[in-house]
């Protein structure tokens, strides 16, 4: 990987500012458009404390919390994806590759099958995600040593197991519960009302990861090199795994298993910005948030008043952009 450090020193702030600006614009768009048209004057009135009750409800109770939740979720997923790709040294790694979303889905769907309310569904999704994380980590460690390959294999097989349980739950469910379950599996932000936690975790996670950026850069070249260069490989890998898992668990609890963001955003940024983790990690958080906010806005308005699950749009937006960049990068 040529020029790991040099170009990053030259332009990281520019890149981050551009991404932050894009994120701000995406948020503004998300608040400005919806199935009820609001003019610029109406928006200004609401933001300056005026507007009628309907306009205030639309902006403050529906659009703003949802846009904030979308941004935080996207940021968390892209961050987790970037971390997993470094940890497993595998370009196909995403936040869900180790079975975490499967565990969360089994928790959430099981709760839905029993007719639980939204709070309990979120709670059991989080519990399922943590259970899966512990299971994979414990099994991969086995009698002591674990390698990324072993971790990956354990995770993939556990994920397959969760997949079977999910299919079983879907088969056993009465029809009227199915749409809710499928929307959860595809990711849906319609009920993400309290984005505060997700934001808190996002900010803490990015701040915690930044000091490790240099070590991660070395780790990305391989554990032997990293060890030779004085990096404590095992503790670093463990903390990356734990952090990525927690971050993903929070994202999945907020919006269900939104696919694709965690896989594609870090790759996309590496194609454009190079592979310096000190830049890629915060940039992933910003770009992931932007992508998911845009995708969710489109999901709300494309067929309005009908709603699409956001996962459909992330893939529709992300796939062509990614393929184009990959094609050009040769």
């Amino acid at each position: 990987m040529p020029g790991v450090d040099a170009p990053a020193r030259a332009y990281p702030w520019t890149a981050l500012w551009v991404l932050a600006l894009a994120g701000g614009l995406a948020m503004a768009l998300a608040v400005a458009v919806g199935s009820v048209p609001l003019g610029a004057a109406d928006l200004w009135a609401v933001f300056t404390g005026g507007g009628n009750e309907l306009q205030r409800d639309l902006i403050w109770s529906l659009r703003a919390p949802r846009a904030l939740a979308a941004f935080a979720t996207g940021g968390l997923l892209a961050l987790a994806g970037a971390l997993m790709q470094v940890l497993l040294r595998n370009p196909l790694a995403d936040p869900y590759v180790l079975g975490l979303s499967g565990g969360a889905a089994v928790g959430a769907l099981g709760a839905m099958l029993l007719g639980a309310g939204a709070m309990l569904v979120s709670g059991s999704a989080f519990a399922g995600a943590l259970l899966s994380t512990l299971l994979v980590f414990g099994l991969a460690r086995g009698s002591g040593s674990w390698t990324p390959t072993r971790l990956l294999l354990t995770g993939v097989v556990v994920a397959a197991g969760w997949g079977a349980v999910i299919t079983f739950l879907l088969t056993m469910s009465p029809t009227e519960r199915l749409p809710g379950m499928l929307y959860w599996l595809m990711g849906d932000l319609a009920h993400a009302r309290h984005p505060g936690w997700a934001w808190l975790v996002l900010v803490i996670a990015v701040a915690a990861m930044l000091p490790m950026g240099r070590s991660l850069n070395v780790l990305a070249r391989g554990p032997l090199q990293a060890a030779a260069l004085g990096v404590a490989v095992r503790p670093l890998e463990t903390s990356v795994y734990v952090l990525a898992s927690l971050v993903t668990a929070v994202a999945v609890t907020t919006a269900g298993s939104v696919g694709f963001v965690g896989l594609i955003v870090p790759h996309l940024l590496r194609l454009v910005l190079g592979n310096d983790q000190r830049l890629i990690l915060p940039a992933s958080a910003l770009a992931g948030g932007t992508l998911l906010t845009l995708a969710d806005t489109l999901a709300r308005i494309l067929l309005a008043p009908q709603q699409l699950p956001v996962g459909v749009i992330t893939a529709l937006l992300g796939v062509p952009v990614f393929l184009f960049l990959l094609y050009r990068s040769r």
């Binding site: 409800d57 659009r63 029809t175």
Partner: protein, 297 residues
């Protein structure tokens, strides 16, 4: 006198033979996909492939002849004891065959077409049921009763249902229109369009479904669209027959007319969301709520 006696005798014999003749002649009815379904004898072993069909069979007086039912066939309570033949999405064909049914009531839009066609190929008599209008509920009851030979039990039920619906129609026919949002499900938020039976119930009570024009039968919508449509009444089903929790999230939106006038109502979902005679009860309740809402204008 003798001749007269003779006439009477012939007449009496004929009368006595009538049921036999009726039994010998095939009983034919048209099903909901327009095919003729004929039975030589009244059905004695019926399998119902949707919870709605099973409930309709019991209502038509044919409950004792139902020997197999799909999962979630929970109404009336007696239906819970009927042996299961898989779920309506995945039928257990072997279990169905083992029951040796002489009539299978399939659900056109719910059962896998491949499986119901296979049942036909295996020589079973299949009636496709899809009651999507009020009048079809009455017709279906009569047809089921005819196929099962339980006309005496089924006919009055059908007539009672029709009379009940007609009474509601007359009573609310010229009520002032009132806009209604019907919530089928919470996550995702789902409603119905005008082709749905629930929307017919709303119309019958003088209501106007605010999402009646949407193309999908059960569209997924956003809360914002409901705020934009600003219905005068919000009616919700719920998870379970006694759980109006879905109405609570609406209360935080003071801009909604329905919230300001406290026109948030719960109707037990099984009385509106299943095409069975119990829809009369659900529709009555719906009409009553719309009356209350009109009084609060």
């Amino acid at each position: 006198m003798v001749a007269r006696m003779g006439q009477w005798t012939v007449f009496t014999i004929l009368i006595a033979l009538l049921p036999l003749a009726a039994m010998a002649a095939p009983r034919c009815v048209e099903d909901d996909v327009g095919r003729e379904v004929c039975l030589e004898h009244p059905a004695q072993r019926i399998v119902g492939l949707s919870p709605g069909a099973v409930e309709l069979l019991f209502s038509a007086g044919a409950g004792e002849q139902v020997v197999g039912a799909v999962g979630f066939s929970d109404e009336p309570p007696a239906a819970r004891k009927v042996p299961r033949v898989g779920s309506y999405k995945r039928l257990d064909l072997e279990a169905i065959l083992a029951l040796k049914p002489d009539l299978v009531i399939a659900w056109r839009s719910g059962n896998p077409a491949g499986q119901t066609e296979q049942l036909e190929r295996l020589g079973l008599t299949v009636y496709y049921s899809e009651p999507v209008r009020f009048e079809m509920i009455g017709t279906t009851l009569e047809r089921f009763a005819r196929l099962a030979g339980t006309e005496q039990l089924g006919k009055p039920v059908a007539e009672q249902f029709r009379a009940g619906i007609d009474a509601l129609r007359q009573r609310h026919g010229d009520a002032k229109p009132i806009t209604v949002f019907y919530q089928v499900w919470e996550e995702p938020l789902m409603t119905v369009n005008d082709r749905h039976l629930i929307s017919e119930a709303i119309r019958l009570c003088g209501g106007v479904n605010v999402f009646g024009e949407l193309p999908a039968l059960t569209p997924r919508i956003g809360r914002e669209a409901v705020l934009g449509a600003d219905p005068e009444v919000i009616i919700a089903g719920g998870m379970g027959e006694d759980n109006p929790a879905w109405l609570d999230p609406w209360r935080e939106f003071g801009s909604l007319t329905a919230v300001r006038r406290d026109n948030l109502f719960f109707v037990p979902p099984s009385t509106l969301q299943r095409p069975t005679p119990r829809m009369l009860e659900g529709t009555r309740r719906l009409c009553k709520h719309l009356e209350q809402a009109r009084a609060r204008r």
